[in-house]
Every structure is written in structure tokens, then in C-alpha cells.
Symmetry: C2
Subunit: 229 residues, 2 copies
């Protein structure tokens, strides 16, 4: 987004905060081999001198007057999140397979393969929203739902996040959605992500990131539990 | 984004278009084990009956009047890309390491770890833009630049794409940027992606997707060339 100044390379030591450390998230510390996390020096956040909020094309935008630790003053623009966040769901009918959906993506004017996603309704937890979306889009509910992590869209200037939820122990259940046509559900083997990642019609960063994160996590859990396929 | 209708599960056969098939991209067909790609039935794109374009908060937005193959009519809203796309760069000082940057992300009001990114300038190829951004942000140029694939931000309603470029064979070179402060450059082992993917401050879908794609690609190339570490 912003053009960057030439950087300073520094060595890092081990041990840093990780999602799941505080138990707020579904991840066990062991998921990351947490004893030996990579640590980075603390950064001092810029001082926020002023914020001007305005509506701009249906979005809430803030002009933020910042002072960086070195004294530099800049005005940044950020787009605020409005209402609840969204969820992206990795639903697994078995330990090797994830359910993709293929639907019309108007931004690209083509059918796109990816994980099911949707907005949380007011008052819903990410897990509840994931289960509802799954029933609406894919025709399954899940008995086991685990919040893995938030993924951001464009953290440099957007506040928006999508919670990644792992859904397992599925059962058939449909809720009515409001889509114009039936959605194709495409089971995909986690072992075949190398094929998915090169498909022109599977382009979304969040979907691809979520799939690799789930595969990595499950592989590490299998190793740590001795349950190697 | 859109609430979805309950889906239809179908089995897929093998062989589908993949980036690199037409040689437009840096990927060799063998990168995907292309002989055996997963094929999906063709979909008929909705008919576009009308498009209304307008400026909305600095963005070009289109209201698209669509008719789906089943006769359903809907109006979708899409945000158009303006000017050149952007690039995201996986720069590798050695075959095990990628250079991350840590910089202030105003959308999240925190320092974020991720791959360097930037807008292409008019007339630049993705490879040229990647090399320039790398020199500005990280202080390195690359003798080998390979365009891997476009990544979309939110394909359901945004046209915007970011080209993933792999940069190897690095040499020190700095170009002036316009950042408010020096950027931290953080070398990260591809073997430690499981730690990165759980860090709260490494949240961007495109960065995480790009890192896993590069790791997967290099691992498969090493296997196919017999050069297994």
C-alpha cells in the first residue's frame, strides 16, 4: 500500500505471543510447538494525535493523524469495520477432506472455488455463525467447531477481519439461504492443496491461507498424538 | 458475503486448467503434477443485462444486473480495480528463508509481520514492480524474479488482485521509499511457518497464503529434481 523505506535487518530471538496463549482461542499452545516461539523486539505504536471520521461511499473512514516513535508525523487513512466480523469455515467430513464451495464471484466475473464464508449475525459467536453458514451453504451442521484465528483482509488500511473456524463431526442439515442458485460443494483432499493453489479459479488469499493453516495444524496434531497417517 | 443456498455435492474427475498451462505465468506444468489435475464441470456464467457505474467514496463501483443459468435475476455490486494491480514479494536470501517486513498497519493499529507489498507503477511488469518494492522496502534487489500467481482480495465483490512474485538470487541495493520510519526486515525460515501462522500480528490472508504456496512449490521442485534436503 504505502511505498516503503529501505529496511534494517535484525536477528530475532525465541519466544513470542501466539494466538491461544491466553486460552481465548481454540488453539493449544502445543499446536505451535510453543516452548520455542520466535520473539521480536517490542515496537512502540505511533501516537494518535487526532482522528477524523466520515462516511464515504457506505463505509466509515477515518483520517488518523499519527506521530511515529522517531517523531515523523503522517496522516493515514483507514476503513473501519462496521457491525460483526465474518467467518470462513473449513468443514471436514473426514480427516483428509475439506468441503469447498464453487459460486459466482462478481468481483472477478467467474466461478470461484474457495471455503464457505459469511457475515456473522448480531449476537452470534464465530462458531455459531460458522455452523449456520455451513447449514445454509453446504447442507451440513457440525458437532465440533473450533475457532482457529482471525485473518485480516488488508491490515495496512482496513480493520476488517474474518474468523477461521474448523468444523468437524458433520451431520446433514439444511437451512434456507438467499443465493440465486444452488451452490456446488466440492470435496477436496488436503493432500491435493498443491493442485488447488495453482488453479486460476481458486484465487482468494484468505481461503488459501485457511486451507494451509488447517492442513499444517492437523498434521502437527497427528504427529504430537502419534497418530501419523 | 452473500448468504448461500444449501448446496449440491458432486464428485469431480481429474484434469483442469491450471495457472502456467498457457505459459503466461512462471509456473511449470510439472509444479502441479499436472498430468492428474482435478477437473470440475463447466459452469455457465450469468448473463450481464446491465451495468451501472458510479464513483463512490473514491472507488469505482458497478451495479450489475445478472441473470443466472436457472433464470434467477439479481443485482450485484462490485468494486472495480483502478490503475495497475499490486505485487506481494517472497524474497529468499537462501533456499530456506523468506524475508518478512514488520511495519505499522493502520487498519489494525498494530505492527504487522508479512511479506512486502506495493502498487505497481504505470508501465511496470509485476516482476519489475516486485524488484523496485524489494529495493525500497527491504534493501535488496533480485536477479531471479518469477511471477507465481494472482491472489484476489475478496473475489465476491472486488476486482482487485495482487501478483505473487518469487524473488531469488538477491543482492544488496537500496532505493529511497516514502515510509515514515525504517522498516524492520525479519528473516523467517519456511520450516517455521507453523509458528508464523498462529501469531496474532501475522494476520493477512494474502501473506500467509503466499508463504505456504512458495514453501509447497519449492518442496515439490526439490522432490522432482531429486534435491531433497
Amino acid at each position: 500500500m504505502h511505498r516503503m523505506a529501505a529496511g534494517r535487518v535484525f536477528a530475532h530471538t525465541r519466544r513470542a505471543p501466539v494466538i491461544g496463549d491466553n486460552g481465548a482461542c481454540g488453539l493449544a499452545a502445543s499446536d505451535a510447538g510453543n516452548q520455542n516461539m520466535i520473539d521480536l523486539p517490542e515496537k512502540t505504536l505511533p501516537i494518535v494525535h487526532a482522528v477524523q471520521t466520515r462516511e464515504e461511499g457506505g463505509r466509515v473512514v477515518e483520517d488518523v493523524d499519527l506521530e511515529f516513535a522517531n517523531g515523523e508525523r503522517r496522516r493515514y487513512r483507514r476503513v473501519c469495520a462496521r457491525g460483526p466480523a465474518s467467518v470462513i469455515i473449513a468443514a471436514m467430513p473426514d480427516p483428509e477432506t475439506v468441503l469447498l464451495v464453487r459460486e459466482y464471484a462478481c468481483g472477478m466475473h467467474r466461478y470461484e472455488l474457495g471455503l464457505p464464508k459469511g457475515r456473522m449475525d448480531a449476537g452470534e459467536t464465530p462458531e455459531q455463525a460458522a455452523n449456520r453458514e455451513l447449514k445454509e451453504e453446504v447442507g451440513f451442521g457440525a458437532r465440533r467447531l473450533q475457532l482457529l484465528r482471525p485473518l485480516s483482509l488488508a491490515p495496512g488500511y482496513m480493520e476488517f477481519v474474518t474468523h477461521l473456524v474448523l468444523a468437524q463431526d458433520l451431520f446433514p442439515e439444511r437451512l434456507p439461504g438467499d443465493e440465486p442458485e444452488e451452490i456446488d460443494v466440492v470435496p477436496w483432499k488436503l493432500n491435493d492443496l498443491h493442485e488447488l493453489m495453482l488453479r486460476e479459479d481458486c484465487s482468494e488469499g484468505r481461503s488459501l491461507a485457511a486451507l494451509f493453516i488447517v492442513r499444517e495444524l492437523l498434521a502437527r496434531r497427528a504427529v504430537s498424538s502419534g497418530d501419523v497417517a
